[in-house]
Structures are given as C-alpha cells and as structure tokens.
C-alpha cells in the first residue's frame, strides 16, 4: 500500500473523493465465550454480524447503539485493529488482510483511534509531551527537532496549557488527558479518525469542551470521522450520517436529520425517544421498550429486535428482515414506517 507523507494535495483529494476512504464489506467478527475442552466444542457468538458500511471522505459517520451491540468491535474492524472473521475491511482501496506487518504499521499514519479511557491509553510514566511526540518517533517522521516542534504545535492546537506539557497523565484531569490523546492521534495527520466513546467518561462542561475541540479540528484538518457513541445528543451535534446497531447488526442507517427526525425502525424510534431532553417544556412521545436486550450469544430467530418490539408480528419470528434502502436511508424491518 502506498502511503504519502505530509499534507495531501487538494487535487489528490478531489480525484479520490468519489470512492470511499474506508469500507467494510459484509464483515463479521466472532468471539469465543466458552473455550473448547476435551468433551465439548467451543461456543462463539458474532459481536458484529455481516455489516457493510462505506465512509466517504470528509464525512462524519456516527455508529450508535447500546452496550453490547457491537459498535466498538465494528470500529476496530474499520480501523484494521482486529481481523474480521468473515468479510473484508478495506482502507484507501487496500484490504487490511493483504498487508504485511510493516505495511500494516505504516497504515497507522492514515488511520487513528481514540479510546474512551484516556487515562488508560496513556503511559502512566511518561510526560505527555513525549507521548504526543511518540508517533513521529515510531514512524521516523522528520528530524528529532522537527518532531518536538510538531508535538508542541499539536499540544497548542488541542489547547493544553504549556505548564502541563511536562506532566505525567495522573497529574491531568480527565478532559486534559483526552486532549493529549487527541493530540497524539492527530500528530501523524491521519485521514480517518475513529473515536470510540471519546467523551462519555467526562463531566458535562468538559464534554462540551472536547466536542467543540473535535469539531474544530475536524474542519481544520479535513478529517473523516467515525464516531462511536451511545450518547445520541452528542451524535446529533457532530455527525452527518448515522448507523444504528442492535445485537451486532445495523438496523437503520441514513443521513442524520432523516434518522433523528423520522426514525423508521421501531428500535431507533424507541432509542431516540428514550433520551431525555433538557427542556421541561418539550412534550415528547415516549416509546418505552420492555425488558432487556437478549444476549448476543443467543439471538432470537427472525428479527433480532422482535422480543422487545412494540409492533411485532408473526412474520418477524419466521423471517429475518434485510437492510432495505430507500434512497440513502436503509432500514432493517418488515414493517418499517414509510418516510414522511
């Protein structure tokens, strides 16, 4: 795979803009939840089950869903951090599976990931300035003095006070740690940034700061963003397109405004209505779902959502609905609501 260093030219970007920067084609990923022994076979379940997604250059796609729906696994598949059990994960036209170890490592200059646990993803022992510089060291970008300058510029860009650059992570607050993680991820000037719950561990006022920062940097650097979150309010603020996942599958995917203002899958509808709105005057319809989501280890037959669905029909247990597109809005439901 060819990886160009530095800034991509505008012409280059324009010529590539038609094909997606990253795509997954019918990917699945299984995990073993009971190891094999002499007497019995191993049991596994699909955390991600036959998902296809395209990420267009410059867009922000949000993947939403509740815990255990497979959204984080999907993020890792797109990032090439995990091999799919089935299907292909393609970045810039190259299948991750076809890369050698060396090529895979240099592909990290183009794809970066931010995890939820900022404190955990930083080395507790090293000053943050060194850690922000480290990706340049790892990939041998520029001379040592250039690297330090770029690290400084990046720390300025994420607005981390200069007096904190020599601090170790435990001396920073959660918000500051997340700024360092963002700086470290962006110093290689990647094309694609995958954010896995980047703000959910943060306090309300700090959350707003980080979201504002991400939106700012996104515009400046022309980033493509895959934004994984359970917080639908944050997603509404930041995303262009949204994919809703339930038990390893995408149940609805489309432009943000269409999905949020007129969800067509009963799960998406219930999920959206369950999010409280900070406005006592807002009168909203509630679609209260009963029960817990079934275990991904034993998904129901037919439609996976049928055990909690308010409009379940006999058909739902018999046949699994497929993801059906209506324009750029896809829905997986036998009885999806007509677009308004």
């Amino acid at each position: 795979m060819s990886v160009s260093l530095g800034q991509q030219s505008a012409a280059n970007q324009a010529s590539e803009s038609s094909d997606p920067i990253a795509r997954v084609l019918s990917v699945s990923r299984s995990f073993v939840y009971r190891k094999a022994t002499l007497m019995r076979q191993a049991l596994s379940f699909k955390a991600v089950d036959t998902v296809s997604l395209d990420l267009q250059r410059g867009e922000t796609l949000a993947v939403v869903g509740e815990s255990g729906c497979g959204k984080s696994t999907l993020g890792r598949l797109v990032a090439g951090l995990m091999d799919p059990s089935e299907g292909r994960a393609v970045f810039n036209g190259t299948d991750f599976a076809s890369l050698s170890h060396t090529d895979w490592r240099s592909s990290r200059k183009r794809v970066q990931v931010i995890f939820q646990d900022a404190a955990g993803s930083l080395d507790p022992r090293l000053p943050v300035e060194i850690q922000v510089r480290e990706p340049l060291d790892l990939h041998g970008v520029g001379s040592p003095s250039e690297r330090s300058l770029r690290a400084a510029a990046m720390l300025e860009a994420v607005q981390l006070g200069r007096h904190l650059w020599a601090a170790v992570p435990s001396e920073l607050s959660g918000g500051q740690q997340q700024r360092v993680v963002i700086a470290r991820a962006l110093i290689l000037e990647p094309d694609l940034l995958i954010c896995d719950e980047p703000v959910s561990a943060l306090d309300v006022s700090i959350q707003a700061q980080i979201i504002a920062l991400l939106m700012d940097i996104r515009t400046q650097m022309g980033l493509t963003l895959l934004f994984i979150s359970h917080d639908l309010a944050v997603v509404r603020q930041i995303a262009d397109r949204v994919a809703v996942m339930y038990l390893g599958q995408i149940v609805e995917c489309g432009p943000l405004d269409q999905v949020f203002s007129a969800p067509r899958h009963p799960y998406a509808k219930a999920l959206l209505s369950a999010v409280p709105v900070p406005d006592p005057a807002a009168k909203r319809e509630k679609h209260l779902l009963a029960g817990d989501p079934p275990s991904p280890q034993t998904p129901p037959s037919g439609c996976r959502f049928r055990t909690r669905c308010l409009k379940v029909q006999p058909l739902c247990a018999q046949r699994e609905p497929q993801l059906v597109a209506n324009g750029d809005h896809e829905v997986r439901c036998h009885f999806s609501e007509e677009p308004r």
């Binding site: 509740e66 959206l272 709105v277 779902l289």
Partner: protein, 327 residues
C-alpha cells in the same frame, strides 16, 4: 424555608479529615427544602458535593466525615443531632437509598430475595417467612420479570437493569418517606434508564414518597424533577422550580451548562463552552468558586463569596445574576 417541608437542609457543611490531619470540605454550603411527595433534583458535576450531601442527610458519611455545621430537618427532627442508633432507625423506616452501581451494590453471596427480605425484617418485626413473601411481592411490584425465579438468584445472574430493580425493591421495602436516587440510572443503557425512571415515578405516586434525584444529566432533571438545586464546588448556587430554571437560569454556571448541552431533538448552531475546570477541593479560590470560569466576574466576585439569597420561588448565590432569557 417553610417548616412544613418534609426535608429542610440549611447551610450544611460536611468536613472530611484527610490522612495527615488536613480537613477538606466536600460540602461548603448546601441549603434546600423538599415538600412531601415532590421531586428535587440535585445537579452538578463530579466532585461538586451532591452525593456527599445525600450521605450526610442519611447519616452514611464515611468514618472520617462529619456534619460540621448546619441543620438537616426531616419531619421536624434535626438529623444532625441524632446518634447512630437513631439514624439507623430513620434509615430503616424513613430514608431509603438507591445507588448508582446496583450490581456491586448488592451482596454477591446472598440471594436477591434474602437481601430484600432483610430490609423488610429490619423495618418491622415480622417472621422471616413473611418477610420472604413480602420480598417476592416487592419484586413483582418493581416489574422484575419472572420474580419467583429471580428471588432465589444472585446479583451476578441478573442484568444491570434487573439489579437496579432489585435495588429499588429493597429501597421501597421500608416504605420510606424519602427516596434518594444517587445517579441511579447513570450506568444503564438509555432504554433501560427510561424503564427505571418510569418505575421510580410510578412508585413515587403509589407510596407518596419524596424523591431526591442526584444526577449530572440535565435532560433527566427536566423530565423528572419538580424543583432543582444546582451545586458547584460544594455549594448550592441556584435553586428554582424546574420550568423556571430551564426557561431563565440566573446563575452564569447554570446558564453555561444549559447552553453547552447537546440536545437530541435539535442541533445547536454553536456549542458554548464553559472554559477551565472545577477548582480542586483543597485549593478553592477566594470569593466565588465559579469566578475564575465566569465571564461576568468582577473584583467583588474575586473577594467575597456570594450568599444564597432567596429570590422569586427559588434562591441564588451570585453577585451578577443573569436577567435576560438564555440563547
């Protein structure tokens, strides 16, 4: 503060002795009142003292903590003066707690039924057999699926939502006058959160309980509360009926929070950010604690801490309250 209120907290100060003899004050001044059957939301970011306030109310402060000033009056009785034994009786019958982490909040080696029955037996002198059957009724009441099986199961066998239902059953077993829900739904998924919120509202009506909702989620407050008390750095900085607070926040911190909050029902043009962070508990600035982050701060704010003053239907601690409607 009206004397007929179920609960009146007045200038509460909580101190904690740290190792080495230092004393810190997680709660510096908390005042609010709660009427019977009403819901008060105690809102603030982590470390603002909201949980500590509730632990102080119910006598559950850690060993090194103490109420060093102020009054907590429940039904005419000042709880700050009560001995541990009396407080235990009050927790058995009058104040109940629902904690955030239900899975770890329940004892892993006891069955769900045992733990609820224990709460029943602690409230009234009934046979263990009777307490057990009450436990089953309670589980049924809180909407536990298949309660006959669940009553014999252990916390690790249940989902997070089911554990929180069990925790609520345990809390209402004593038929309390006051239920304190401390971030009770924070760890749950949003569809499960909606179920639990509906359940609490339902039980509140049925038992006529007053509820204190401790949370950082302003969306949740808007849906659940009658009145709100906003805390910042150990102080209640603004108090108001919920509609008023959201329509016209007067404290710059409240307004800042509301303006910075993303909403699921519409996209904001811009997110207005409160710069900076909460000051550390052992290095509070002089004057108003919010001063260093406030755009309206003046010299007065930097020198004198504003007192909580009663104002139309609520109370406010600010030298320069906002008057207009928010953006």
């Amino acid at each position: 503060m009206s004397t007929s209120s179920l609960l009146a907290v007045d200038s509460l100060v909580v101190s904690i002795k740290a190792r080495g003899g230092d004393v810190v004050y997680p709660v510096r001044s908390a005042s609010f009142a709660l009427e019977r059957g009403q819901t008060l939301a105690l809102v603030g970011e982590s470390g603002c003292g909201k949980s500590m306030t509730c632990l102080a109310i119910s006598g559950l402060l850690p060993k090194r903590g103490a109420i060093s000033h102020g009054r907590v009056v429940l039904d005419g009785l000042d709880l700050a003066d009560q001995n541990p034994k009396a407080m235990r009786n009050i927790r058995r019958k009058q104040i109940a707690f629902v904690f955030q982490d239900a899975v770890n909040g329940l004892n892993p080696v006891k069955t769900i039924g045992w733990q609820i029955a224990e709460a029943v037996a602690l409230r009234e002198d009934v046979s263990w057999h009777r307490a057990k059957s009450r436990a089953l009724d309670l589980l049924d009441r809180v909407g536990m699926p298949d309660p006959k099986t669940r009553v014999r199961e252990f916390p690790h066998q249940l989902s997070g939502g089911m554990n929180q239902r069990a925790m609520i059953a345990l809390a209402v077993a004593g038929q309390p006058k006051l239920l304190i829900a401390d971030e009770a739904t924070t760890a749950l998924d949003v569809t499960i959160q909606a179920q639990i919120l509906a359940l609490i509202a339902d039980l509140q009506r049925e038992f006529g309980m007053a509820v204190i909702f401790v949370t950082h989620d302003l969306g949740l407050v808007a849906e659940m509360a009658d009145a709100v008390a906003v805390m910042y750095a150990g102080r209640v900085v603004e108090r108001a009926p919920v509609a008023e607070l959201y329509a016209a926040p007067k404290h710059p911190y409240t307004a800042g929070l509301l303006n910075s909050l993303p909403r699921v029902d519409r996209r904001r043009e811009t997110i207005q950010v409160i710069e900076g962070q909460v000051p550390p508990i052992n290095a509070m600035p002089s004057g108003c604690a919010f001063g260093p982050r406030c755009g309206l701060a003046t010299d007065e704010c930097r020198t004198t801490s504003p007192n909580l003053v009663l104002a139309s239907g609520g109370a406010l601690a600010c030298h320069h309250p906002l008057t207009g409607t928010p953006l």
